[in-house]
């Protein structure tokens, strides 16, 4: 099974990278872009066949390691 995980900053938390990228896009002439936010994207293979167990495992990985839940939130998809 393949897990695709998105980890993003909670809304309201300062995103210095997003800010800098937005500014850079603007200077490059992309004036239509706004609210740039930057996060992490992770992919991994999971040796687990039941959907439920896989979900529980990915969730645990996010909580324990992949996301810093004090400032970040996460979501994931599972595909076979």
């Amino acid at each position: 099974m393949k897990a695709k995980i998105h980890v993003t900053l909670k809304s309201g938390i300062l995103d210095p990278q997003g800010k800098a990228i937005e500014h850079a896009l603007e200077t490059l002439g992309f004036k239509n872009a706004s609210n740039v936010r930057m996060g992490k994207y992770l992919e991994l293979d999971l040796r687990e066949t039941t959907q439920d167990r896989a979900e529980a495992e990915v969730k645990a990985m996010c909580e324990k390691l992949l996301a810093n839940t004090i400032i970040e939130e996460y979501r994931y998809e599972l595909n076979t």
Binding site: G12, I13, L14, P16, H23, N68, I70, I71
Partner: protein
């Protein structure tokens, strides 16, 4: 929460204001405060901002001296170093934020102390970090250490300010209350120091830096509260640092300060816009009118309460000369910083805050900033103090294998090399680092002069819990000794006093005695305290940390090429021990590691003896007689000798040492932590001269060995009390145990 909120008893309590304090608010205002005003009083009168429990005691610290250019009270202190320059420095804690989110907490701690330095008009040239964690066998503590170090690394490195040293100690007592203290040193022209003053009625007030978001609202009150499970819910207050913006802010501020545009400047640290505005007004005896409508914001719908209390990072408040605001704004734009005129200085002494044309707060600035509560809180020794100090050393067995014991001590994370940490810090940027991390103190040359400055941070919390007065004195003595061993004369200090809950009499007792110890040592060494910080409420679930008053000290080396390092230089050099060794085992690392006790009286310190040792060491170094100098601290003489062998960044050198004529126990001799001792190496033919000079100055001195070989061998001669014993270890083994210990501890599964 709405601004129209009715003030109830609950709300007052949530704001941490005691009944008496609230009465005083009403007295000052002549009426009940509104919600915004309540928020403002609550942060300004928090322990963190008002120093209400510590102020009366801090008065004991000596703060004056011929070199003092700026003592406590401004953003940082400053001492004269000649050549028209001064050293500007201060230390700050960021303990609670670092426990909640180690990376961001530590990073924003670095950001905050840097701003304190460059608001003074000084360019920051070095950082030190003082850290305390619980033992590394707990995953949580490893996580905290890694997070804190990467946060400091990320922020300091990006700023281009080298982190050139610091200290770390580990003790279970810090498990739920780690300490993160950061010291910063800057250099400014003596005649161009800036202050946080809102002088000149009518002058414009400008906001410069990042936009304001809802970050860290009530950070100051959080730093003034103990931790418990419920603190988890305070988590949304985490602030995120943006070192890139801070770098721009630094350059913009220094550029502005080159011009003649500014009257005063202050960073928005704890309590943000509130503390910066009312403190600047109060210092000048003026009032200040703010119009929040113009404050740059990151989020829509922010209330005046939120705008006034936000602790968004990387922001400054400036007072410019009238008519110069456009020029200030132009320079800010050059550095891509948000900036706006947000108010003006008034003559009525009132901090008046407006939003959308409406007055939302009106408070006398001076009363708010200075008439906060002051407490002389009750103090008493803890019930367990006698037990702590009672140590029956005779009941403890001597180690069987002294080599194994030395290796065990070198492997203890508190003693082991901190290379894993400082290698992640850029410690060379700005190209001043003459002595990098790894020696007793870091040494920085001062460009454009022949001088150098040495800096160090020190404290032994265990000594302080066993005997707060002696512990406070020793912290100062050790810092000074580290500077002296680097060839520097101590010229000023800053402190960061980390203590538990001041509402507990035993914590106040520890605090008062530690401060007195620090004060007496400063007096004896003629080193003034020019800045500092108090961090109370380091208490979690009722458990208070060891009293941990960290001392950051600055020393001057008149001729930079006289800077000294701690490691042996050449085979054949003689090893000389300055100072006397007593049976000082109480509170030692040896006692903890080998006998699992943290007990006893800490080592005894005599200030005169220590002072003479400093004078002697400095004289020997200045006369060019010394090849290396290292003080004995944690782990005692044996550990100091091992460090002299292996702490060199290049090829280690062995030594053969023979200790004769001692009447104390062999473990006390090798691992006891007697104060006022320094291990020197000197050229073989200079040894006699060194001994003669020491003797003439009244410092006990003995040649104890010779540098060279592939091993460290320490022979203790047989005496009436005991047979001979020997420490004998290959350099390879010493290096591995000492050098890789931290990495091993951090990589354990």
């Amino acid at each position: 929460m709405k601004d129209s909120q009715v003030i109830t008893k609950d709300i007052i309590a949530q704001h941490g204001l005691a009944d008496d304090e609230y009465k005083k608010v009403i007295e000052i205002l002549g009426r009940e405060p509104n919600f915004t005003e309540l928020g403002i009083f609550s942060v300004m009168w928090s322990e963190h901002c008002s120093y209400k429990s510590s102020r009366v005691h801090l008065k004991k610290l000596p703060t004056t001296g011929p070199r003092v250019v700026q003592g406590p009270g401004e953003n940082a202190g400053a001492v004269d170093i000649g050549d028209g320059l001064c050293a500007v420095f201060k230390m700050e804690s960021h303990n609670h934020p670092s426990f909640i989110e180690p990376y961001q907490g530590a990073a924003t701690g670095v950001g905050g102390i840097l701003r304190d330095i460059f608001t003074m008009g000084a360019r920051p040239i070095a950082l030190l970090d003082s850290l305390r964690f619980g033992l590394l066998d707990r995953p949580k503590n490893r996580h905290l250490l890694k997070g804190v170090v990467s946060g400091i690394s990320a922020y300091g490195n990006c700023m281009g300010v080298p982190t050139v040293g610091g200290e770390i100690a580990f003790n279970e007592i810090y498990s739920n209350n780690p300490l993160v203290n950061v010291f910063c040193l800057g250099i400014a022209r003596k005649d161009r120091l800036f202050k946080g003053t809102a002088a000149g009625v009518g002058n414009p007030v400008l906001y410069v830096g990042s936009k304001t978001g809802r970050d860290g609202i009530h950070g100051a009150t959080m730093a003034s509260d103990s931790f418990d499970e419920a603190s988890e819910s305070k988590r949304p207050t985490v602030q995120v640092g943006d070192p890139f913006t801070e770098k721009l802010l630094l350059e913009a501020c220094l550029e502005l300060m080159e011009t003649d545009l500014l009257v005063g400047i202050q960073d928005m640290g704890a309590a943000g816009l509130t503390s910066s505005s009312c403190e600047m007004a109060s210092r000048a005896g003026n009032g200040l009118e703010l119009d929040l409508t113009h404050v740059p914001r990151r989020e829509p719908g922010m209330t005046p309460y939120e705008l006034m209390l936000s602790e968004s990072q990387e922001r400054m408040l400036m007072v410019a000369k009238q008519g110069k605001e456009d020029e200030v704004l132009r320079i800010c734009r050059k550095w891509d910083l948000d900036a706006a005129v947000v108010g003006r200085v008034t003559g009525d002494g009132i901090l008046r805050v407006k939003d959308q044309g409406k007055v939302v707060a009106e408070i006398p600035a001076k009363a708010l900033a200075e008439d906060g509560p002051k407490y002389e809180r009750p103090n008493a020794p803890p019930a367990y103090q006698e037990y702590l100090q009672a140590l029956n050393f005779d009941a403890l067995k001597e180690p069987k294998d002294y080599t194994a014991t030395l290796l065990e001590l070198l492997d203890a994370p508190t003693i082991a090399s901190k290379r894993w940490v400082y290698q992640q810090y850029d410690h060379m940027v700005r190209t001043n680092s003459m002595v990098r991390p790894g020696s007793d103190a870091a040494v920085l040359r001062i460009k454009g002069t022949n001088k150098a400055l040495a800096i160090t941070a020190d404290c032994n919390g265990r000594y302080c819990v066993l005997h707060p007065y002696m512990g406070g004195m020793i912290a100062v003595a050790e810092a000074a000794r580290n500077l002296v061993c680097s060839g520097a004369e101590p010229i000023g200090l800053t402190d960061c006093l980390n203590f538990g809950n001041p509402e507990r009499p035993e914590v106040m007792w520890q605090f008062i005695l530690s401060v007195e110890g620090i004060a007496d040592a400063c007096q004896a060494f003629n080193v003034p305290v020019v800045s500092g910080n108090v961090s109370f409420y380091n208490e979690t679930n009722g458990l208070n940390i060891y009293p941990t008053p960290i001392i950051g000290m600055v020393g001057l080396i008149e001729e930079a090429d006289k800077a000294m390092t701690q490691w042996f230089k050449r085979a054949g050099d003689a090893i000389v021990l300055l100072g006397a060794t007593r049976e000082d085992v109480g509170g030692t690392e040896y006692l903890r590691v080998v006998h699992h006790r943290e007990q006893g009286e800490p080592p005894y310190l005599n200030l005169d003896t220590e002072k003479t040792l400093h004078a002697c060491t400095l004289k020997l170094i200045r006369e060019g007689l010394v090849q290396s100098a290292h003080d004995c601290s944690d782990g005692g003489l044996a550990v100091a000798l091992a460090e002299c062998c292996v702490s060199v960044p290049t090829q280690p050198l062995g030594a053969v040492v023979r200790l004769t004529g001692y009447t104390i126990r062999r473990d006390a001799l090798l691992f006891g932590e007697s104060q006022s001792r320094v291990v020197l190496s000197v050229k073989a033919d200079a040894a006699d001269k060194v001994l003669t000079i020491a003797k003439a100055m009244g410092v006990p001195a003995a040649k104890i060995g010779t540098v060279g070989g592939e091993r460290l061998v320490i022979d203790v001669e047989a005496s009436k009390q005991a047979s001979a014993c020997r420490v004998d270890a290959e350099l390879k083994t010493l290096l591995d145990r000492w050098g890789n210990s931290l990495e091993r501890a951090l990589n354990q599964a």
